[in-house]
Structures are given as C-alpha cells and as structure tokens.
C-alpha cells in the first residue's frame, strides 16, 4: 500500500542573518509514522521542527502539510502541535486549564471541551490532578499535561522537541513506552527531535540524521546502524571502529583493501572505488572477533582497557604501531589487562566509506 505523505519539506533553507542553518532540505514524512530528527546540538534539528510548526518561517523552499501549501500560513492556523523542550506549561493555569487552553481559544462549546478534557486526562492517566498547578506536579506529570494539551487539539502531526531530555533515566524509559503507546493508539504522526541516539533507535520508525543543517541519512533505525552511509552517521550512531585503508584491487562486487599496517581483506562494496583510493572502514565493536588463540588472518594485539557494563564488556585492543580497536563481548572475566589477543574482522561486517 502506498503510504501517504503528510508533511513535505521541499528544498527548504533557513538563514539567521548571514548564517545558513538549514541547507536545502527535502523530506517526506508519512502519515502515522514516528520520525526522529537526530543530531548533535546546534545541527538545526529544532529549526526544522519550528519551520513545520510555523514558529519559524522558511527562508526559501516550501512546507506542505496534508498536501496543502503551509509555507506562509501562521502557526496559529496549522494543524500541528508542539511539545516544547521546557514543556512551556502555563504556570498560572491548572492542569485542566492548561489542557483546555487550545479548545477555548478555538471557542469550542464548553460541554464539548469538558468532555474532551476528561477523555484526554484519562488517556494520559492524570485523573485526580485536574486542579493542580504545574508547580505542584512531578516531572512526569508535567510531561503528561504537555502531551495532553497538544493531543486534545487532534493535530495531524505532533512535534516533540527534546521533550524527554529533562527527565531522569527511569522516568524517561517509562515515558518512551508511554509515547509509543499513545502514538500507536492515536495514529498521529510524531516528529521527534533529540540528540540521544538510544531514544531515536528505540522509538522511531525512521530516523533522519541531521548534521550541519543537512540530512546525512534517512532510514530505519536498524539500517542506519548497520549501513551508515557517511562517516558522521557511523560515528554518531553507536560505537564504531573507524580505520584508514587503501584500495589494492577492484573487483565486480568486491574490493581488496589494505589496512592496519598492510593487513589485507576483501570486502563487499556497492559504491565505486578506484585503485589506490584512500578510504575509511567502519566496523562495529560487536562484530570484531577476538580470541586468545591465533586466528587465521587475525591481527595480534594486547588488551589495553576493560570496561564492564553489565550485559556486555567493552575491550580496547592495542595494535602495535596502530590505533586501538574497540571490541564488545558478552562474557566478562575471560580477559585481563595486557593479555595477548588476536582480533579479526568479518568481511561481511566491514562497511567501506569514502573519505
């Protein structure tokens, strides 16, 4: 089934003064999907969100929501609502007044407002807190008020600006599950902005990695993790060994490269590389094989650092005259500091990237 494009950004750029913060972005966001804009702070992800909500205007380009050109339509009139980073609850209003604010502004019938407020309060589980002021609520409850205040408007798209950042870890995990649940239930399109890759990976249908005002890669979480298209993505998402290499021979679907002091491997490569071209290889730590016994075509090194983190152990293997290789294993007390080990890269898991 063809998915419907709900939000469309077409060659959108944004400049503040002479600084171009968004550089010619085009992005299709489908109905009902959970899309995350992920990137380091200052990359422009919040600006993209604000251009969709209408709180910032675009310098050039077009914004479509539900096939209608919204480029020059005021934020007030867009069927889009935002949950702000600091939540922006109205401090002098109770939970109920906060939640009903939008409908009151639209001059909706009072009985209708009361009915919908009750529904939404049940949905976000805020029963019993209707008459409290934001300052009398916990962080999680404030979060719920902010969510309720937005979803009561039945927006086509809900924009979330780093909304979970201020919460502690446990509450954050709970709210992540809660948000996913709500999104499934309401079928609203969520556009979520964050700099936390774990949030992005666990919650999203698709992730757009933003860097320097441009989209580096747009794909499903697992594809982004497994097949990063740029060095930035490889480095930003998860842990990665990034190794310098040089092309020795070019085959049909394969290239032969030399890395780590003349260690030669064959790797699959779709993109076109030339002979003698310098390139970077990306290998995830969990895809590095490690053994105390000699491995065929393995590289000798020694354990430089051990970090135990419960479900896994991270090792740093020093290759003499070269860089340290990050390795991630599941069993813990097999290795000790300074152990001599052999590491080997499975050619299926080596991702070649242009420099």
């Amino acid at each position: 089934m063809e998915k419907k494009v709900l939000v469309k950004l077409e060659n959108v750029s944004k400049s503040f003064g002479s600084v171009e913060v968004i550089k010619n972005i085009s992005l299709d966001i489908y109905e009902g999907e959970f899309l995350t804009l992920l990137g380091p702070s200052g990359c422009g992800k919040t600006t993209i969100l604000r251009m969709i909500s209408g709180l910032d205007d675009v310098t050039t380009g077009k914004v479509y929501i539900d096939d209608k050109d919204m480029t020059n339509v005021d934020a007030t009139k867009r069927e889009v609502n935002t949950i702000f980073q600091n939540l922006a609850l109205f401090p002098k209003m109770t939970t109920k007044e906060n939640i009903s604010f939008g409908l009151k502004m639209k001059k909706v019938d009072k009985a209708e407002i009361d009915k919908r407020v009750d529904e939404v309060i049940k949905l976000v589980k805020l029963q019993g807190f209707e008459d409290r002021y934001p300052s009398e609520l916990s962080g999680g409850q404030q979060q719920r008020v902010a969510i309720a205040r937005s979803i009561i408007m039945n927006p086509k798209v809900l924009l979330l600006d780093e909304s979970l950042c201020s919460l502690d870890l446990k509450l954050k995990k709970d709210m992540q599950i809660e948000l996913k649940r709500l999104q499934k239930k309401l079928g609203i399109t969520f556009i979520y902005v964050t700099h936390a890759q774990d949030e992005a990976l666990s919650m999203s249908d698709r992730i757009a990695i933003i860097n320097n005002g441009a989209i580096e890669q747009l794909d499903t979480p697992s594809n982004i993790y497994k097949y990063p298209k740029t060095l930035f993505v490889a480095d930003f998402i998860g842990e990665a060994n990034i190794i310098n290499a040089k092309v020795l021979e070019v085959g049909d679907n394969e290239i032969k490269v030399s890395m780590l002091q003349d260690h030669v491997v064959d790797i699959k490569a779709d993109s076109i590389f030339e002979k003698n071209q310098e390139l970077k290889l990306v290998i995830r730590p969990e895809n590095v094989r490690i053994s105390k016994n000699e491995l065929a075509n393995g590289i000798k090194g020694s354990i430089n650092d051990i970090t135990y983190s419960g479900d896994s152990t991270k090792l740093l293997v020093n290759i003499p005259g070269s860089i340290d290789i990050k390795v991630c294993i599941n069993d813990d007390n097999k290795y000790v500091y300074n152990d001599e080990v052999y590491v080997k890269f499975d050619s299926n898991y080596i991702i070649p990237l242009r420099k």
Partner: protein, 284 residues
C-alpha cells in the same frame, strides 16, 4: 556567628539611625501635632483635640481629595497604557537594547524633578514648542491650553512618575518565558488572546506594584500641580503644603498628612487582598 552579627549591625546601624531620626521621628511628631490646635499667629497650643481630623470631612476637602484621586488615577492609567506596549515591543529586542533603554529611562532621575517640571513649561505653554509646531503645520489654528489646567498636571505627573510603572512592568514582561507565548500561538491563540490569557496574568503583579508607586506620589506631588496647574487646581499635596507654609496651621496640615498616610496603608492592604505579595513592594 556572634562576630558576624556584630559586623552586620555595624553596617545596618546608619540605616536604622537614618530611618529613625529622619522618617520615624518626624512622623511621630506630626502625629502628635495633629492632635493639637494652632493659635492665630501660627503657634501651637498643646491641648488635645480631634477637631483637625473632623475638619477634614468638610465637603471642600473631600472634593479636593476626590479630585486628587481622580488625577492620580488617570495618571496611573495612562502610565499603564504606555508601559505595556513599551515593554512588549522592547521584549523582542536584544539584551543590549533592553539594557540601554532601561538606563535611558533612569537618566532623567539624575536631574532635579522640580527643574524637569519647569522644563515642561517651555514645551506646553501657549507659545511653547508643541503649540508652535502644531500651528506651523496647520494642524491647529489656535494654540491649545496644554497647561495651567488639569491636563498640564496629568502630563507632568505622567512624565515624572512613568518610570515607576515602566520598570516593574518591563521586568514582569521580560520575565515571561518566550516558549509560553509560542506554546499559546501553537495552540491557536491570537495576539489579543495571548495578551489576555498569558501575558496579563503573569504581569498583573508588576502592574499593581507600579500602580501603587505611581498613584501614591501622584496624590501628593504638589509642585507639579503648582507649576503646571498654575495654582488653579489644588490637589491634596497642595493643601498640606499650604497649611504648613501659608495658612500656618501646622496641626491641621499634620492631620491631613496622617490621613493621607492612613489612606496609603489602606491601599496597600487592598493590594494585598488582590493577591499581590508584600515582598514585591520591598516590605512596604
């Protein structure tokens, strides 16, 4: 701890002495005077009486009090009307412009307010700058009576007292988180609705503070009424001044002064009832 408190009281002592000698003692003396009578030469007879207070409730004085209050009220209202748009416009400007503007508001305070009030004569009189400008442009045929009437007093009062409204309103308006206004916009609120529902509730205490700080002096600023009102419009401040300096009836003047203090405190009480916090008044 003990040493620290000694250190503290050393620095607080001058303030305590200042307050006691220059504020509290005179008030006590005036309170004492208000129960005395004066002889026909302006001397004071120390015989206890309540007549001075009863005399205040003469129609002449009540009317004067009402007129003073009306002038003060109009002044306060105009100050609010100027301060809000000013603060809302300035709110979106850079920190640098905000600081500069706030400093510029304070600059006139460096000049004596009596002299500044005389300055207004040059602007407001029949052949003053404003009238000349308007007639030369042909907007008006004859010069307007901008002073020696209530209008002149209100202009002068507004000018002198505006900073007392401007500063608290500005600080309240600047404090509103930008994202609150954006959130309201996002939820479909139009500018007027944003003002009514978000800005007003959060700045009303600033307006209350400013109102007290404008209204109370506006009742008593006799020199503005003298200079720009041409002595034709008496406000309660003129009355007190005249009792002391012209009529030489210090006890009656004292009684009116005490009466004014009582009204002032009553106003502060009303303010407190309306939801303001005492700390915001600096412990008035």
């Amino acid at each position: 701890m003990k040493k620290n408190s000694g250190f503290k009281s050393f620095f607080i002592l001058p303030i305590i002495i200042y307050t006691f000698v220059l504020i509290l003692l005179p008030i006590i003396y005036i309170l004492f005077l208000s129960f005395c009578t004066s002889d026909s030469y302006g001397g004071i007879l120390y015989n206890f009486t309540l007549d001075n207070y009863l005399n205040i409730f003469d129609m002449t004085y009540i009317k004067m009090l009402l007129k003073s209050s009306l002038i003060a009220l109009v002044t306060t209202f105009i100050c609010i009307l100027i301060s809000y748009p000013f603060a809302l416009i300035l709110r979106n400007k850079s920190e640098h412009i905000k600081n500069l503007t706030t400093k510029l508001i304070m600059v006139p305070f460096l000049t004596n307010s009596l002299i500044r009030t005389y300055g207004w004569i040059i602007l407001l009189r029949k052949n003053g700058i404003i009238n000349k400008f308007l007639t030369s442009l042909g907007i008006i045929a004859f010069p307007l009576n901008l002073m020696y009437n209530k209008l002149g007093i209100i202009i002068g009062m507004t000018y002198t007292l505006l900073p007392f409204m401007l500063l608290p309103v500005c600080s309240a308006v600047f404090e509103i988180d930008k994202s609150l206004i954006e959130a309201a916009k996002d939820l479909g609120a139009k500018p007027l609705q944003i003002f009514k529902n978000i800005i007003l509730p959060q700045t009303i205490s600033g307006v209350f503070n400013g109102s007290l700080m404008v209204f109370i002096p506006a009742i008593g600023y006799f020199f503005i009424a003298d200079i720009l009102g041409g002595g034709k419009t008496m406000i309660i401040g003129n009355l007190i001044k005249n009792q002391f300096l012209t009529a030489r009836n210090w006890p009656f003047g004292s009684a009116i002064a005490i009466f004014l203090i009582i009204i002032t405190f009553a106003l502060v009480k009303v303010y407190k009832k309306l939801g303001g916090k005492m700390e915001e008044l600096g412990g008035l």
